[in-house]
Each structure stands twice: as structure tokens, then as C-alpha cells.
């Protein structure tokens, strides 16, 4: 897909600037220019496409769809909606209480709350740009599994409602959908504004991430990485998950590093576990939820999701 771009960079770096492709400097500069622009193009395209699609969905609609769904199929639906619904962790509280109000089981709400940040548009665009569609599909697929089963098991906790600190009175009867009409033009504008906003926020992180990646790519030998970041040591996956938790806001900067680390010998399962931990185990979201949920339930939520991610990591280290 990007061979045309690679040819241009080849020409620029190796011919116009006359850098040697076998030197560390040459390959690092080539890597930086090629990767940055490629990721920028993909980020803009994918974020625009996803946010355009999302103008057709909103959390209010999802609530109406999920109302009255039975437990397991509800978990699956909620996890799927997590991909296409616009979600900001800042509205986790109204979402949580609003779902309870509609008598949607807490476990199903958690399936949504796990899936939505995991499948955020930035992570998906970065993954697609760096690792290709296969790894992206694996990430989304197993992310969905974690969301479905994570939510399902949380829902199995006895009298889970007592962990919710604010009493919610359920609404009787069916909810009505809020009707907000938008023209195609408005949707395109909205998606475009959103894309610009996100891009402004993350482009610098992408460049820094790719920059460090380019340095590693050109200057640090593979044996060094394999020794410290990768390998098949049993603790590689849990360490990757723990390291991912505090990096929530920086998925854009972290992922280019992961690409280089995997290219240099870090196992793919550890890398996947790390990326899922970065997106799904979000400390800011936990802090917000703490205002309405008992800390115990948040700990269980993190525990179950973390455990699911560990399983995915180990599984891939074994099969791939």
C-alpha cells in the first residue's frame, strides 16, 4: 500500500542526501521519515472514517438497543457497540448510572466499558499503520473476547448492585430514543473537525515515539532488546501489562516503540498484552468511576480485565 512512498523516501534519503543505507544514520533517518508520514496518512484516514461512522451512533441509542437483552448476548452486543460508539471516559458516570436506570445488568455495562477504550480510534489507526491488518484484527478480536467475558464474569458477582454507591431508580417501561437529525454535510464536517482535533493532540507524540523508534532501529542491536525487553521469560507478559497501565493517554507515542521492539525480538504476545493494558486499563477512568463505585468493584474490574489480557499475551507467545 505504501511502496510508492517508500520509493520516494528511498530516493530522497539515499540519492538526494546521499546517505548510505547500510549505516545506522541512513537507516534511522529513512525509518523516521517513512514511518512518520505513513502513520500520519493512516491516522487521518482511519480517524476520519471511524468518527464519520460514529455520527450515526450515540450512547443514548446504544442504551435503547441494549435494554432488555439477555445476559450473554447482551455482553456480546455491548462489546460490539463499544467499537462504533463515540465514548469519552469523562462520561463514564452518566453512562453507568443511565444504563442501570434502564435496567441493563451491570455486567453488560462493563462489557461496554471495557470494549470502548480498548477499541479507540487512535489505537486502531496506530496498530493498522504499524502492524498491518492481521495484527489489528487479532487485537480487536481478542479485545472483544476480553470485554465479553470480563463483563460476563463481573456480572456473576453476587448482589453486585450494592457496590454502586449512588441509588438509581429504574425507569419503568421502554425508553424513547432521542432524535437528533444531522445532514450528511454536518456529519462530514463533524468528523473532519474531530479528526483535526485528535491529530493536533497526538502528532507530536507520534513523532517522538517514531523518533525514539528510529534511534533504536538504527543504533541498538537486536540482541540487546531481546535480552531486556523480550524473550520468552515467564514474567515478560505481566511486566508488559503493569507497564501499560500508567501510559493511558499516550497510546499514540507508545505504539511506534512497540513496533520496533517486536521487530527486534520482543514477543508479539507480550506486545499485544502491553498495548491492551495501555488502552483498557485506564487509571483516569478508574478515578472517575471511583466517585460512584466501591473501590472493591473497581479492583475486581481491573483484576478481571488484567487477567484476560495476561491470558491473551501468554497464548500468543505460545502460538506465534
Amino acid at each position: 500500500m505504501f511502496t510508492w512512498w517508500e520509493k520516494i523516501v528511498d530516493k530522497l534519503v539515499y540519492e538526494t542526501w546521499a546517505l548510505d543505507s547500510s549505516t545506522a544514520l541512513g537507516s534511522a533517518i529513512h525509518f523516521f521519515i517513512y514511518d512518520t508520514i505513513k502513520i500520519f496518512i493512516l491516522l487521518i484516514t482511519i480517524i476520519f472514517a471511524v468518527s464519520f461512522l460514529r455520527t450515526y451512533f450515540n450512547t443514548e441509542k446504544v442504551r435503547v438497543y441494549l435494554q432488555g437483552k439477555s445476559e450473554f448476548s447482551g455482553n456480546i452486543l455491548a462489546a460490539l457497540f463499544g467499537i462504533i460508539t463515540p465514548f469519552c471516559s469523562c462520561s463514564a458516570i452518566p453512562l453507568f448510572l443511565g444504563f442501570m436506570q434502564a435496567r441493563i445488568p451491570v455486567g453488560i455495562t462493563f462489557s461496554f466499558l471495557i470494549s470502548a477504550p480498548l477499541n479507540n480510534e487512535i489505537a486502531i489507526a496506530m496498530l493498522f499503520g504499524l502492524f498491518g491488518w492481521k495484527i489489528t484484527a487479532i487485537y480487536i478480536g481478542f479485545g472483544l473476547l476480553v470485554a465479553v467475558f470480563g463483563g460476563y464474569f463481573i456480572g456473576k458477582i453476587k448482589s453486585i448492585e450494592k457496590y454502586v454507591l449512588i441509588p438509581v431508580t429504574p425507569i419503568e417501561g421502554e425508553l424513547e430514543d432521542i432524535q437528533i437529525k444531522l445532514s450528511l454535510n454536518q456529519r462530514v464536517n463533524e468528523a473532519w473537525d474531530y479528526t483535526k482535533d485528535i491529530f493536533k493532540k497526538i502528532y507530536l507524540y507520534v513523532m517522538i515515539g517514531v523518533g525514539i523508534g528510529a534511534f533504536i532501529h538504527g543504533y541498538i542491536p537486536a540482541e540487546f532488546i531481546a535480552k531486556y525487553a523480550g524473550g520468552d521469560a515467564w514474567y515478560a507478559v505481566p511486566v508488559a501489562v503493569l507497564m501499560g497501565i500508567p501510559m493511558y493517554s499516550n497510546a499514540a507515542g507508545v505504539m511506534p516503540l512497540v513496533e520496533v521492539l517486536t521487530a527486534k525480538g520482543m514477543l508479539l504476545g507480550s506486545a499485544l498484552a502491553f498495548m491492551m493494558a495501555v488502552t483498557a486499563l485506564s487509571l483516569p477512568e478508574a478515578m472517575i468511576l471511583k466517585r460512584i463505585l466501591d473501590v472493591k468493584l473497581i479492583a475486581i474490574f481491573f483484576g478481571i480485565v488484567g487477567f484476560g489480557i495476561l491470558l491473551v499475551g501468554y497464548m500468543f507467545n505460545i502460538i506465534l
Partner: protein
């Protein structure tokens, strides 16, 4: 017009309030702007993603930080 901004106090909610006031200043006239921060009150509007904009009791937008121009458009096409 009666305009309500629903939001639990996140950054986007405050920004929406500022934008709404600016939009009203551009349109002119006398308007009643209220910020609804109580989550129980917000849920009465069937809104589960904040910030939301409510005009004369009708929900016009949810989960979005609207620009000043977008708000003006919403207020004028009622």
C-alpha cells in the same frame, strides 16, 4: 429561549457552556442559560453522554463539544 447545558463538570462540559454563552451573545436578546450538574437531573433527560445541549426542554446534542457556529445553527433552526 431557555438553554440548559448538561454536564458533570468535565472540561468539555465547561467549554460547551462558554461556547453556548458566546453563541447567545452573538444572537442577542434575552435568554435563560442554566448549567445542570446534578447527575440525577441529567438522567431525567435520558442523556447518558455528556456534555449535552438542551433548548426549550428538547435535547439537541449529546456527547459533543459544539462550536459556537454549530450552536448558533441549532438555535436558529428550531
Amino acid at each position: 429561549m431557555k438553554i440548559e447545558i448538561l454536564g458533570t463538570g468535565c472540561a468539555k462540559c465547561k467549554a460547551l457552556e462558554t461556547n453556548a454563552k458566546e453563541a447567545l451573545a452573538k444572537i442577542g436578546g434575552f435568554h435563560d442559560v442554566q448549567k445542570v450538574e446534578d447527575i440525577m437531573e441529567i438522567m431525567k433527560y435520558n442523556v447518558v453522554s455528556t456534555p449535552a445541549l438542551v433548548v426549550e426542554g428538547v435535547v439537541k446534542s449529546t456527547g459533543k463539544l459544539l462550536t459556537v457556529d454549530e450552536i448558533i445553527e441549532i438555535l436558529q433552526t428550531k
